[in-house]
């Protein structure tokens, strides 16, 4: 093992870490909000909104993120009305486009995951809430969301971790994050495995932290499923 090479590779890769983290944090939070919006349209009862949400999920979940990002970055710019439009200063920026396509894609996946969680909420508990006059947002916030969130978490933690890895596609649109930099290193050194293992170690650590955080959240939301503590404090 060539430790000098590994450590210099590590140093180079870690320099790209802030880009990866920024892409991750922005796209996951924007994606989560979008997902809730999509979910609301999907189950809200309005036929047109529901059809739109279905179509949205279909398209963004159904096609490769690589192609989506390509079309958002290179495709949108083909239209002169976009190039001359008010959003161009934003869309011109590769970073914005990368975050945008990542968020659009994760929103579709997350909406499906949350929908699965909704379905696990016992209908009787929803009824009990309706019977005291809860509806709409209050019902969602106090009863449905906490239970649905609890059941969604295992699948959602997978999605979040996937987003961490999906940020690697951003190098396609000239945003050089960890994987992109790793590929650049490979094309200089041709030591594919060593460089990739370094990159993998970084992702593994990041994802380990994310998964631990999610597991902790899951644990704290499952108090009602656990046996009571052996001794009262």
């Amino acid at each position: 093992m060539d430790f000098d090479f590994l450590s210099s590779t590590m140093v180079t890769l870690i320099k790209a870490l802030p880009v990866t983290l920024a892409l991750f944090a922005l796209s996951v939070s924007i994606g989560c909000v979008l997902a809730l919006l999509i979910l609301w349209m999907r189950v809200g009862g309005n036929r047109y909104l529901s059809a739109f949400a279905k179509a949205y999920v279909f398209v963004f979940r159904g096609s490769p993120l690589l192609i989506q990002m390509f079309l958002v970055f290179y495709g949108l710019a083909q239209f002169s009305f976009i190039r001359n439009g008010p959003l161009w200063p934003l869309l011109r920026e590769p970073f914005v486009c990368a975050v945008l396509s990542l968020a659009l894609c994760t929103a579709a996946y997350s909406a499906e995951i949350f929908r699965g969680g909704l379905r696990s909420v016992p209908p009787r508990e929803i009824e009990a809430a309706r019977s005291i006059g809860m509806s709409g947002f209050l019902l969602v916030r106090r009863i449905i969301a906490p239970i649905a969130l609890r059941y969604s978490l295992p699948a959602y933690s997978t999605e979040v971790v996937l987003m961490m890895k999906s940020t690697s596609l951003a190098s396609l649109v000239t945003v050089w994050e960890v994987t992109g930099v790793a590929q650049r290193l490979i094309s200089h050194s041709y030591r594919t495995m060593e460089v990739f293992l370094c990159a993998a170690a970084i992702y593994l650590v990041l994802n380990f932290i994310v998964l631990q955080a999610m597991a902790l959240l899951e644990y704290s939301l499952s108090r009602h499923l656990r046996a009571p503590a052996a001794r009262k404090a």
Binding site: V43, G45, F58, V59, R61, G62, S63, P64, L65, L66, I67, Q68, F70, L71, Y74, G75, Q78, Y109, E112, I113, R115, G116, L118, R119, S120, V121, P123, R124, I126, E127, R130, S135, Y151, S152, L153, P154, A155, S157, T158, E159, V161, L162, K165, S168, T179, T192, M193, F196, L197, A199, A200, Y203, L204, L206, N207, F208, L211, L225
Partner: protein, 240 residues
């Protein structure tokens, strides 16, 4: 050359190659989903079991295979697996390269990744099964295996279906990375067509559309399964 000609099925059209690519993508994904279902069920069971060792192994599996980039796993299985096979071949006196067949390596790699996703989907669904119904099964003397097959499985399927739909989509797209093993699946065929004709947009859009066709086929299957699974559920969600 006109767009229609480019996408046609004659000697100058890419239609046949693209369809063949879609077929390979479908086959890799289906094989991977099956491999992943077996692995996922085992890992989910480990993570839910009472044994500390099994739980730790299960967590390690889901953390590692969800946590490291897919491409690396494919590299490891393809090149690592190939080296192993070649080494065995050389020990037995065979000269030269004896790789894992691309399809098997690809399906195995995507399957192992898919297993880590499915494990979490299954675990979440298992937690949603009403405890009282499991007790009722125990109470009539169902053993573990029977309880699993008759009570847990059908209900887990019900709660897991949306999540499984997601995993199918993920595997569908992970299969695009398998091209490093030399498999001409849909993504690579689109890229080859784009690079050979320099019609990047055309072939990316067409490739994306073909992925959507695969998705709509699988959506139909999942929709039907969901409807079947939900016959017994009260429909309180849609009310006022």
């Amino acid at each position: 050359m006109s767009t229609l000609e480019l996408l046609g099925f004659g000697s100058t059209g890419w239609g046949a190659l693209l369809l063949a690519g879609a077929g390979i993508t479908l086959a890799v994904t289906a094989a991977a989903l099956a491999i992943g279902a077996v692995l996922g069920a085992i890992v989910a069971a480990a993570k839910l079991s009472g044994s500390v060792v099994a739980r730790a192994l299960g967590s390690a599996y889901t953390t590692v295979f969800r946590g490291i980039p897919e491409l690396l796993i494919i590299y490891l299985i393809y090149f690592g697996g190939s080296s192993a096979v070649t080494a065995i071949g050389q020990a037995m006196g065979y000269e030269g390269f004896l790789g894992l067949p691309s399809f098997i390596a690809g399906a195995l790699a995507v399957g192992i990744i898919s297993g880590s996703y499915q494990a979490e989907v299954f675990r979440g669904a298992y937690l949603a099964v009403a405890k009282g119904e499991l007790e009722a099964a125990s109470a009539i003397g169902m053993n573990r295996a029977l309880r699993f097959r008759r009570i847990i499985m059908p209900q887990v399927m019900r709660y897991a279906l949306p999540g499984m739909g997601n995993v199918w989509q993920l595997s569908l797209k992970d299969s695009a990375l398998v091209s490093v093993t030399g498999l001409a699946e849909l993504m690579r065929t689109s890229q080859v067509a784009a690079g050979s004709t320099r019609q990047y947009f055309l072939f990316f859009v067409v490739g994306g559309a073909l992925y959507l066709v695969l998705t709509s086929l699988s959506d139909q299957v999942f929709d039907r399964a969901e409807r079947r699974a939900n016959r017994s559920m009260p429909s309180a969600m849609g009310q006022v």
